[in-house]
Symmetry: C2
Subunit: 214 residues, 2 copies
């Protein structure tokens, strides 16, 4: 069997990937901005099924872009999601990526309170000028964000919740609940999701913000 490796410059790999996705996926119901998010998730996962499962609440993209432009921070549940976010793009606007899950104080509180470390990290960091919450791993963290959001004053609430935890225990259920909320959110129904999905959604928003800034 002969396997052909394409010769392509590093800087052109992403654009070529997007061309392949556009060509193979064909017609879709999304506007251009939304498709740029969906396409980046497909690119990060190699999985076209996200075109069927991703859900965007009305105003979700605008809310995310406003949060980025306002220089607000992004809160993630796990370090893998934080690692995947383009910090150099976010830094243009003044925001930072926050993730408390590896903090020793968080681990100690989690043991004491019988919670997951993700839940405790959410509690501690949600008041830290968060514009976007990006949950890529832990359903417990997503449920916690949804619960805590209700207790925050309106001006303290994150503009956008991206909830795409992955897995077999409460992932699909937590995302089903998020999809029923009226506030700005982006989710992916079913079991699939994950850190690359969460990071891809944030990175697509960052590219949209940069593109619109000119």
């Amino acid at each position: 069997m002969s396997t052909i490796i394409q010769q392509i410059k590093p800087a052109d790999i992403e654009a070529e990937s997007f061309r392949i996705i556009d060509r193979e996926h064909g017609a879709h119901p999304f506007d251009a901005a939304t498709w740029s998010v969906v396409r980046r998730v497909i690119h990060a996962t190699g999985d076209f099924s996200f075109a069927d499962t991703l859900r965007f609440a009305p105003g979700a993209l605008a809310a995310g872009l406003a949060a980025i432009r306002a220089g607000k921070n992004i809160l993630t549940d796990v370090n893998m999601t934080a690692s995947g976010i383009s910090k150099h793009l976010l830094a243009r606007y003044g925001g930072k990526v926050l993730c408390g899950v590896a903090d020793p104080e968080v681990a100690e509180q989690a043991r004491r309170r019988g919670l997951t470390r993700s839940e405790v990290a959410i509690d501690l960091l949600l008041p830290e000028n968060i514009g976007i919450v990006a949950i890529g791993n832990a359903p417990t963290a997503l449920l916690r964000v949804m619960e805590r959001r209700q207790t925050l004053a309106p001006e303290q609430r994150p503009e956008l919740i991206i909830g795409v935890p992955v897995g077999f225990v409460n992932a699909a259920e937590s995302k089903e609940l998020l999809s029923q909320r009226e506030y700005p959110h982006i989710t992916a129904l079913g079991r699939k999701g994950g850190s690359p999905t969460a990071a891809a959604i944030v990175n697509a928003l960052l590219r949209l913000a940069v593109a619109e800034s000119g």
Copy 2:
């Protein structure tokens, strides 16, 4: 619509996820150790298709376990994969996770040489007592590892190459090539893969090493 969230203790979520995967997947051709790797990938991705696409070269698990027990280091292509590896389990054996992709010297060399940062990071770190290489993102990094391996003295070669890059340009092709090699490797055919897949494979090996030591 009513969505039911399961009440389950944080410490029990993983075991319950594994029970669900066992039950839904049913019969499989893998031995117990190999299934523990496949199952952890399914757990990390929510995607049963990895049971069909994962490929294990003969001796791959034994080679990985030997590398871990010898205290060798693990080299990853991207920080997302490095983030996902259980450093506290690896530390029991003395190994470290290495990833050079964010090193400013690597970026500079990549620009100068017209290579990806992943490729340059591989070149610089492959001689650093690497037992396992885990490529979760960049096909170029996997191709580089396969090429460089040939130039290393036998005693310098990594014991195991885990190659599961994701995407549309050269990901499937690079993994097809790896699957044809006779040396110890683990790969996932097709476009799917990614950092969580690479980290899950390493973490499953670490759990096997701990279980066998215990």
